[in-house]
Amino acid sequence: MYSFEVERPTSVADAAAALGKDEAQALGGGQTLIPTLKQRLASPSVLVSLAGIADIKGVSVDGGTVTIGGGTTHGVVAAEAGAYPALAALAGNIGDPAVRNRGTIGGSLANNDPSACYPSAALASGATIVTNSREIAADDYFQGLFETALEEGEIVISVKFPIPEAASYQKFEQPASRFALVGVYVAKFADGVRVAVTGASEGGVYRWSEAEAALSGNFSADALDGLTVSGDDMISDLHGSGDYRAHLVKVMTKRAVAAAS
């Protein structure tokens, strides 16, 4: 690690101000950032910890929407987002207890790791990412591997998830990291089905529109039978080739539909 200063603001405004400084960076649960710092792969001069901001923590339900504070840990989401069971289940299967007790949804969405779980939930649910300056629809938010619509210093305050009629996240774990080798999130709404895939594509999390079309007409695993997924633009690494990932996209989508129906 290189040395850095730490600031611990207690309000979003103070955090935003602190993040305005040169080479400042937000620190959520540190589950991604701290290992990066330890390996000396990043050298922020100021870390602005969001952990002390009560306003961005917690889960609330309002009608058909679950709102999760950007600083809410995976463990809290797993325990308290019961109004949206598929989301709570996803959170409860991220990493291990130590990771879930520190890692936050804001950190996960800001980081947008191509193998992370939350991005698929946000995209499939048609969630809205609320920052200190604006609201961003999930469809506009995810912009590729580790890329999002967030501006420098912008803070994820909360995430609003419309609660679907039925949903399921099926994660096929990468054997070592247990992130998603391929994860598929299926959400069925009154006006159609959304399917988001994580772990697979070189472009990061994406919506599988053919599957959405097929499932919107017939919400059953069989509806996917005729579809094929190409391995061409899929991630290929030591844990899985592009073809293997493409194959798993369909398998996991079917399983998600079966689990949600």
């Binding site: 096929f172 070592a176 992130f179 080798l181 398998v251």
Partner: protein
């Protein structure tokens, strides 16, 4: 086996200490004022060094020194690391390319130590390391496990380190000529990273003019000898200690460059120095395990009796010869070459290959798991090709009980065994009869189920001799000094328990001392599943001496004949007297009588012969054909470990051993890219087995006591690993065979299993 220990499942006395964070591992006990050592390692796999300039690094505040090969050279050190050479099959001597402590003109693998920075703290050392000017011309790398390719060492142009042979090549060839069936199989045995929970580390200090090196190791005496050689010191001026050690598995049995440089720096700077590896560093620099491929052939007659067995192995050594590397897939492998079978003719050939990778050396079982993995894969394949039951084929070929002592082709003598009895017990414990039903249930869930057997045999290795010393202390207790070394196995418990059983001294009055070359003159350390057998063997001798010494003393005191004094494991009895003193009481009497000669007992003993633990592992796997995910559903072990001192600790050894075998079979896998960069350099990519990987293990023993040591013991430390790999692989093969997969090789990662099915045309 009452006489030689009460075979109690005593709980480990060291556990509380280790579990509540009060273990004293090397990084916990380094002197507070120690400087930190940090190793600058090669970022490339093969290059000629054109410039190594550390001047800017030395100038970083807090940095005391930056040590390179030229500093070691200038100080006159013997800078070549020690290693043993495997005998060549043509009787010639293979070249012995130097393994420098720090890279000299070339680097040969990613992670090779190039320079060591000594600084007030680790951050300063890391800052300095970024300022080292290291320029090089890259050289083509040799990554393939085959001879030829770009040469790593000028004196070995074809990268073949050795070419070892054992057995009768001509007789074996004849057996193949007359065979009714020949089964041939290419089998690879994937490289694994050992990943001890505690990585390697050490500290060195100079105390009253003597060098003290403390390191996480498997014994202190080998390291002491090496330090004396490399640093040109009188061994009397060196103390080496091993504190608590968090797992060694063979990997920590060897000397490593960091220990020498740390010791050198401590002497040079007159300050204590500490070094601790981080995880990625461990993955890059710890000796790896396995990494071989073999072509094996078995010849059978028309009744499926084995006529001959031959194999040709290529063993990856990595870039340099680690201390015992050449011996692993050659000599040690050969100890159990023919497994549990009565094989009239066999021949093995093994070539060692240099590649631009980290060194490979001993890993739990060291050669024996590899040999058993191979022969048990071949037996399984043969049974499938013949269309007969795999257990039946083994029974046809087992060495029969009436054939013991059985001389084997590699020159071992198996003392006893009853393989059929052990297998029969295992079939029952594993509920073989219910397998078809379980397979049908799996099928109903869309899963493929398979069952696999490995019947392994293991040869207890390591030095057969050991010393012991027992001191009766002034505070009324006893200290036992042992020459073995716990790496977490529970030696403190077992050695105290054994001495207590033999002498009646309460276990809580016995202290076990290990791992200190000043307190213990010599010893064999831990390795080869030797510890309990060799240490209790010599303890028995010391106890016998102690009993007769004390009996003589009591006789003298009581004015009776020595023959009138007896000892019953608890107390002494004297004919015609109703005093029945305990061992500790007699020691006290001796102390009061000024007989200090009776308060220290030393003994040295050599095992009369090796013992051969053996047993059957049955593994059942379930495979999801849609994803390739493989899960072990049921696991049964029936071992013949002979007599056990502490069955609970033996079972623990089997659990751990099975976990390591399962890990290698299912997920552990080292991957380098084409340039020799390690891709599996963190736990994000290197998949260790975890709790949910592990099945519940059914463990039973079927003892056929060894006849080559007085306790009838056989050793259990490595057996779990030896049995597990082939059991898993044969189970996976069983699940896949009917679906067209005729060759299933470890590691069974989901993608690999899915591909096997796909390539065989399986449609889920």
């Amino acid at each position: 086996m009452d006489k030689f220990g009460k075979s109690q499942p005593v709980k480990r006395v060291e556990d509380i200490r280790l579990l509540v964070g009060q273990g004293r591992y090397v990084d916990d006990i380094a002197p507070v004022d120690a400087l930190h050592a940090y190793v600058f390692r090669s970022p490339v796999a093969h290059a000629r060094i054109t410039e190594l300039d550390v001047r800017d690094a030395v100038d970083v505040p807090g940095v005391h020194a930056v040590i390179t090969a030229s500093d070691l050279d200038k100080a006159g050190l013997d800078t070549g690391m020690a290693f043993s050479s495997a005998p060549m099959r043509d009787g010639s001597k293979a070249p012995r390319p130097k393994r420098p402590i720090l890279a000299e003109d070339r680097v040969r693998f990613v992670g090779e130590a190039v320079a060591v920075i000594i600084a007030e703290d680790l951050n300063a050392a890391k800052d300095a390391s970024e300022l080292i000017v290291f320029d090089y011309d890259e050289l083509p790398v040799h990554m393939a496990l085959q001879t030829g390719g770009p040469a790593l060492h000028a004196e070995v142009p074809d990268n073949c380190a050795f070419d070892y042979g054992l057995g009768d090549e001509v007789a074996t060839a004849k057996a193949f000529e007359t065979a009714a069936h020949v089964v041939k199989l290419d089998v690879s045995d994937n490289r694994v990273i050992v990943n001890s929970l505690e990585p390697r580390g050490c500290f060195a200090e100079v105390v009253e003019g003597r060098l003290h090196l403390s390191f996480g190791g498997q014994g202190v005496w080998g390291m002491k000898g090496e330090l004396a050689r490399v640093l040109h010191l009188d061994p009397a001026d060196i103390r080496v200690t091993n504190p608590d050690v968090g797992g060694g598995f063979g990997m920590k049995g060897m000397a490593y460059p960091e220990y020498f440089v740390t010791a050198f720096a401590a002497r040079q700077l007159g300050r204590p120095i500490r070094w601790m590896s981080d995880r990625t560093e461990a993955m890059l620099s710890d000796n790896a395990g396995r990494d071989l491929t073999s072509c094996a052939e078995m010849a059978f007659d028309e009744n499926h009796r084995i006529l001959g067995y031959r194999l040709h192995t290529l063993s990856n050594l990595g870039a340099y010869n680690s201390q015992f590397a050449q011996m692993i897939q050659s000599h040690l492998f050969s100890r159990v070459l023919t497994g549990v079978y009565d094989i009239p003719a066999a021949y093995m050939r093994c070539e060692g290959i240099y590649t631009n990778t980290t060194q490979v050396d001993a890993y739990r079982g060291a050669g024996r798991p590899e040999a058993i993995y191979l022969i048990e894969r071949v037996m399984d394949r043969a049974a499938r090709e013949f269309g007969i039951d795999p257990q039946a084929l083994r029974r046809i070929n087992f060495i029969r009980p009436d054939q013991f002592p059985y001389p084997t082709i590699p020159g071992e003598t198996y003392d006893v065994g009853d393989f059929d009895r052990v297998l029969t017990r295992a079939e029952t414990e594993a509920d073989l009869a219910g397998f078809d039903g379980r397979r049908a249930v799996s099928k109903a869930h869309g899963k493929l189920r398979g069952i696999g057997l490995c019947y392994y045999i293991e040869s207890i290795l390591g030095a057969p001799d050991e010393d012991v010393k027992v001191d009766f202390t002034d505070d009324g207790g006893a200290i036992i000094y042992v020459g073995t070394q716990s790496n977490g196995q529970g030696h403190e418990t077992v050695f105290a328990q054994f001495l207590a059983d033999q002498t009646g001294i309460p276990v809580d009055r016995i202290e076990v001392v290990q791992g200190d070359s000043d307190q213990i003159e010599r010893g064999g350390g831990t390795g080869g599943s030797r510890s309990v057998t060799v240490q209790t063997n010599v303890t028995l001798l010391a106890v016998a001496n102690m009993v007769s010494g004390f009996a003589g003393f009591l006789a003298e005191q009581a004015g009776v004949d020595a023959a009138d004094v007896s000892f019953d494991d608890e107390s002494f009895r004297i004919t015609g007297s109703n005093v029945t003193p305990t061992m500790l009481e007699v020691a006290q009497m001796a102390r009061e009588a000024g007989r200090s000669d009776l308060l220290t007992w030393k003994a040295t003993a050599k095992l009369p012969g090796r013992s051969f633990p053996n047993g059957a592992h049955f593994c059942e796997v379930e495979i999801d054909p849609a994803t390739g995910a493989t899960h072990v559903e049921k696991y049964t072990v029936v071992d013949d470990f002979g007599n056990l001192i502490n069955p609970m600790l033996a079972e623990g050894q089997v659990h751990g051993g099975v976990a390591q075998g399962l890990g290698q079979a299912l997920s552990e896998r080292v991957v380098f890219d084409d340039e020799g960069q390690l891709l599996t350099a963190t736990f994000m990519d290197y998949a260790m087995p975890r709790a949910d990987t592990m099945p519940m293990i059914r463990f039973e023993t079927e003892a056929v006591p060894s006849t080559t040591n007085p306790m009838g013991m056989k050793g259990c430390g490595e057996a779990g690993t030896v049995g597990a790999m082939a059991a898993v692989a044969n189970a996976v093969q069983d699940a896949l065979w009917a679906h067209g997969v005729k060759q299933a090789d470890m590691p069974f990662t989901p993608q690999r299993v899915w591909e096997m099915l796909k390539d065989a045309g399986h449609k889920p």
